[in-house]
Amino acid sequence: MRIDCPHCGSRDVQEFIYLRDAGPRRPDGMAATLAEMHVYLHERDNPAGRHRELWYHGSGCRAWLVVTRDTRTHAVFAVEALPASVESAST
């Protein structure tokens, strides 16, 4: 499997580390509740198909990336750099 890092170019998946679904946003601040944190940390969709997920180019540029991937075929539709994608996703 290969991921086309927007900074480095196409690289072997071995250079990357998968984290999780890119969707959940951390409930920051003292006002956040345990229930919100539980949702953020544990509640995940498990789609068969398109999935936006966070990957870390640990053996490359050390950038966190948002990879949109088909969980059934591993087809990669998009690889986006942060933080632009976070900002656009949060608006």
Partner: protein
């Protein structure tokens, strides 16, 4: 050495000027360069090559390629012995030693062939039915029994002395297979300017052109082959990889290839690997892997001397070998007839041609006449007999009468199956093509297309045309134009395809012998009938119930026949019965090739500290600690064991001064306006109040509330901090901080980079540490207790201006410093510290003493920070700020993590001071039996404290903090430990911390 009685007087692609001596089961034989072991054995008249897996049936050579299910042998001897090697692909070399396998005491007389007599007992499902109960018998009785009786070869017992390599390659177009389709594809892609890699498992390129007498453009195919290879070799971006099997197709155009660099040589030449595993990344790939011929299922079809007709042509035309002198051809199509022709032309007597079809072309009839073969049409071979070598066959003719024929070779031609295995590695299934009665590639992995026989287009012209067209298309898709050059791709004619006969049933009066579908796993037609009767009709059930197709050959010659037989049983069509998909590797790959350079010392990269050479000079004993090689202790002459050494080191630190390498700690440089805020969010304690020039101990949680890491972080300037992490977690913490910064809080002005490799760092610990440092740090820096108190952290210089950093921090509880200098000065720093400390009796200490010192002080380390502990569990709950948000804040408040009963940190001492404590021991109440319910926690770290003259331990026990003075059992059944211990304060030494401040 014996002559080669079955070698033709001339012809073939072997080099008769280069004879090679080799041995088989100790018998000395001779072959030629260009032979495979199989062709050389046949040239010497060796028919019996091995015994079968389950029934120990005598087996010979069925094929001439990697699909071979029978002729598995052991190659070489000693540490280089390699079992289960296919004689049909093993290239002959001078001095090759080969041995048959799965026989005892000898190949000719095999005691376990009695299995064959009890055949019905060993039929499909036998293992499931017989060995189901009792479960405990599996390990002790059944498995050893089965392993002895049914098995393959013996692995070498000594370590493999050869080297293996991994390699990476990239190309526009990968061509898989070097036959006519593959060569045409490579040629047209190469002419268009594409970067091309062509792989073929064979040592010679040409595919079937090496084995068949064909014409291209009106001239012998050999001319076309030579011209094509010459042109390919001349192309700058063309890599032709012989002896290279593409064994797997992975996501996004990644292909696994194993190159047998030196398997054709007695030992690898100097500095050459035996094998090299490639990971090839290709924009496009063309599968031109050809096709595999199909056997027919009839009684005795495994008798040595029954061979695939195409393989017979390979032996005759390519290797100049007659696999028999009295041959019968059993065919279901026109293709097999060329075998009869070639055998006759090479000097064999073709006794008969048995064609299952009633109608035969006049041209073929004329051929039969010309070669003097008796023609029996509308007929089938019902059985073959002869045991260890074929002696004759029984033919059932169109009228249903039996005709017995004597022969020593039966060539079977029943059509071909496209070699489409790689197309299903991405979980796509082949589809049935009724016109050729075979599965052809269905949906393909992205970027891969099939050409020629692999696509079910068996005719030579189709291979040449299709390959050329797909090669050009692939090049164009990679941005290359159309190449110049033309090739005449007209080929000679090749009759009608086969109308396959899957199985010949019937028994002709006597008890019918076994008819094999899967030769390697000894699966018969009877097993498939049984499977159908017992309800295992789905193809995946059939496979598992009968083990059809589950041997090392993955059923290359058996899967389609098996499906056909199941279809017959269930009254369905073959495509409705199912397909099987194949998985990597296409052929077996040695683990050594996959590991490459990374074995032994190079299993994974190791890291050494910049003070390593200095430690070596002090006679240190080293230990692997994660990726690091660290000084464990520094024995001195006369010391009897490690404990004596470690005790000396520990006492020296507390009595005077010691020095220890701590370069391995992770170090992260943090700069920017918002670093203080950032640290507040990633650590559970408060950072924004840290003054410049100070260090602070920090505890970092994971978002789930458990402790992730700890360490000290220092503020070097207004917007400049230096974080240290534990050695083990350096990379993980860096990744976590990058996540926090890039994903969670990109608005913060924080710039971070690892500087772990930049600094050599030493801990100087003990009451005289400041005196020692005074002689190391440049004079203008005031390091007196007043100017440089506990937790001071500052940039200083050493050696007259070399930048350095000094921290007054302590892991040992003594007055202590950590000094960091640029890595290149690591050795010099240790020398300077030792020189300055000589008068104070400075003592180098290692990882063991470091551990004792920290356990004496109750400091937590890796054994306690094991990912299952909270700050509260470790007695550090007070560090968790209630005034700010930080990673892990909320989840650490989950009820289960704060309940009083949770095991918390405590110290432990044996009541009998002479008893040893062991980490891992579980705590039980006195007199309580050892059960899960009674488990109160466990010991995490232990050490011998020379100050207390006793073993001491840290551990977590229910309500730990409230039970000081109570006694419990430390129970360690694995090492026969059962020690009564007293729960105590985890700080064993100087609990007031008076020594810290000097």
């Amino acid at each position: 050495m014996s002559p080669q009685p079955f070698r033709t007087p001339a012809g073939g692609l072997i080099d008769r000027a280069k004879p090679f001596g080799f041995s088989f089961d100790g018998r000395r034989l001779e072959g030629y360069e260009g032979d495979t072991l199989a062709s050389a054995l046949l040239a010497n008249g060796v028919r019996l090559v091995g015994r079968s897996f389950k029934y120990h049936r005598p087996r010979g050579i069925l094929s001439a390629g990697s699909e071979e299910p029978n002729a598995l042998v052991e190659l070489r001897s000693g540490a280089r012995r390699e079992p289960n090697t296919r004689a049909t692909t093993a290239e002959l070399f001078d001095g090759l030693e080969a041995a048959s396998q799965n026989r005892w005491p000898s190949l000719d007389f095999d005691l376990l062939s009695v299995n064959s007599l009890f055949g019905s007992a060993l039929a499909a499902g036998f293992y499931y039915k017989t060995f189901m109960w009792p479960a405990a018998f599996w390990e002790r009785v059944y498995e050893p029994l089965i392993r002895r009786a049914a098995g393959l070869g013996r692995a070498a017992v000594a370590a493999d002395p050869d080297h293996y390599e991994k390699a990476f390659a990239f190309c526009d177009v990968l061509v898989i297979g070097g036959g006519p389709a593959g060569l045409s594809a490579a040629l047209s892609a190469g002419r268009a300017g594409a970067r091309v890699i062509l792989c073929d498992e064979d040592f010679a390129l040409g595919g079937r052109l090496l084995s068949d007498r064909r014409m291209i453009g009106g001239r012998p195919a050999a001319d076309w082959l030579a011209a094509t290879l010459a042109e390919l070799e001349s192309m700058p971006d063309m890599r032709l990889m012989r002896r290279s099997t593409v064994f797997g197709v992975y996501d996004h155009g990644v292909y696994g290839v194993v190159e047998r660099v030196s398997d054709h040589l007695p030992t690898p030449p100097p500095f050459q690997p035996r094998q090299r595993s490639w990971r090839i990344t290709a924009k496009r790939a063309i599968l031109a892997a050809g096709a595999i011929e199909r056997p027919v299922v009839f009684a005795g079809n495994d008798t040595p001397g029954v061979m695939l007709a195409g393989a017979v042509r390979s032996y005759v035309n390519r290797f100049g070998v007659l696999p028999g002198r009295e041959a019968v051809l059993f065919t279901t199509g026109d293709d097999g007839w060329t075998t009869a022709r070639d055998l006759a032309d090479a000097g064999a007597r073709v006794v008969a041609i048995v064609d299952a079809r009633a109608e035969i072309d006049a041209g073929l009839r004329a051929l039969a006449e010309r070669i003097g073969a008796r023609l029996v049409t509308g007929a089938v071979v019902e059985s073959a007999h002869g045991g260890k070598a074929l002696r004759g066959i029984s033919v059932r003719n169109a009228a249903g009468h039996h005709v017995e024929m004597a022969c020593d070779l039966l060539a079977v031609s029943n059509g071909w199956n496209p070699t489409l295995h790689l197309t299903s590695h991405q979980n796509t299934r082949p589809v049935w093509d009724a016109t050729i009665a075979a599965f052809v590639p269905g949906a393909m992995p992205p970027g891969l297309v099939a050409a020629g026989s692999a696509a079910g287009r068996f005719r030579l012209e189709q291979a040449l045309d299709g390959g050329a067209r797909l090669g050009a298309e692939a090049a164009a898709e990679c941005g290359h134009g159309r190449g110049a050059g033309t090739t005449d791709r007209t080929a000679d004619d090749e009759g009608l395809p086969a109308t396959p006969v899957w199985r010949v049933s019937g028994g002709s009066g006597r008890k019918r012998g076994k008819a094999f579908v899967d030769f390697q796993n000894d699966v018969t037609d009877f097993d498939i009938e049984l499977s159908a009767r017992e309800g295992f009709r789905a193809v995946e059930h059939l496979k598992r119930y009968t083990t059809l197709g589950m041997a090392t050959d993955q059923g290359k010659t058996s899967n389609v026949s098996g499906l056909a037989l199941m279809a017959e049983q269930t009254g369905k069509l073959i495509p409705d019965t199912g397909t099987t998909i194949f998985r990597p590797p296409y052929t077996p790959v040695a683990i050594g090739a996959l590991g490459g350079h990374h074995r032994g010392r190079d299993f994974r990269p190791t890291r050494i500290s910049p003070t390593h050479a200095w430690s070596e000079r002090q006679g240190a004993v080293f230990i692997e600690s994660g990726a690091w090689i660290r000084a464990q202790y520094y024995p001195q002459p006369g010391e009897r064991d490690w404990l004596e050494t470690v005790n000396r080191e520990v006492l020296a630190v507390r009595a005077g001064v010691g020095v220890c390498d701590v370069s391995t700690l992770g170090k992260i440089d943090l700069q920017g306006r918002d670093v203080g805020v950032f640290l507040d969010r990633v650590y559970c304690n408060t950072w924004s109040t840290l003054p410049i020039g100070k260090a602070r101990y920090g505890l970092m949680l994971r978002e789930d509330g458990f402790v992730m890491d700890d360490g000290t972080t220092s503020r070097l300037a207004d917007d400049h901090y230096l974080m240290t992490t534990t050695t083990a977690n350096a990379g993980k913490v860096m990744q976590h901080l990058e996540f926090c910064h890039q994903v969670l809080w990109p608005e913060l002005d924080v710039r971070m980079v690892s500087v772990s490799e930049r600094w050599a760092q030493a801990a100087i610990a003990g009451p005289r540490s400041r005196d020692v440092l005074r002689g190391v740090v440049d004079g203008q820096h005031d390091i007196s207790d007043d100017a440089f108190p506990y937790l001071a952290a500052r940039e200083v210089t050493v050696g007259g201006g070399i930048p350095a950093r000094l921290f007054r921090i302590s892991f040992s509880g003594e007055r202590a410093f950590e000094l960091a200098v640029p890595s290149g000065f690591g050795d010099a720093m240790m020398q300077a510290i030792m020189a300055s400390g000589r008068d104070y009796g400075i003592t180098p200490y290692g990882l063991e003493a470091l551990g004792v010192l920290r356990i004496e002080k109750g400091h937590v380390a890796g054994s306690e920070l094991n990912g299952q502990t909270t700050a509260r569990d470790l007695g550090l709950g007070k560090m968790m700020s209630s005034k700010k948000d930080y990673i892990g804040r909320l989840m650490a408040t989950r009820p289960a993590l704060v309940e009083a009963e949770r095991p918390t940190l405590a110290g432990f001492r044996p009541v009998d001071a002479s008893q040893r404590l062991r980490a891992g021991a579980h705590f039980l109440g006195l007199g309580q039996p050892a059960s899960i319910e009674n488990d109160e926690g466990h010991m995490t770290s232990t050490a011998y404290s020379p100050h207390l003259r006793s073993w001491i331990g840290l551990g977590r026990i229910r309500n730990g903090a409230t039970r000081i003075g109570e006694r419990v059992r430390a129970y360690d059944p694995v090492r026969n430990g059962d020690v009564v211990v007293e729960i105590c304060n985890p700080v064993f030494f100087d609990p007031e911390g008076a020594r810290l401040h000097g």
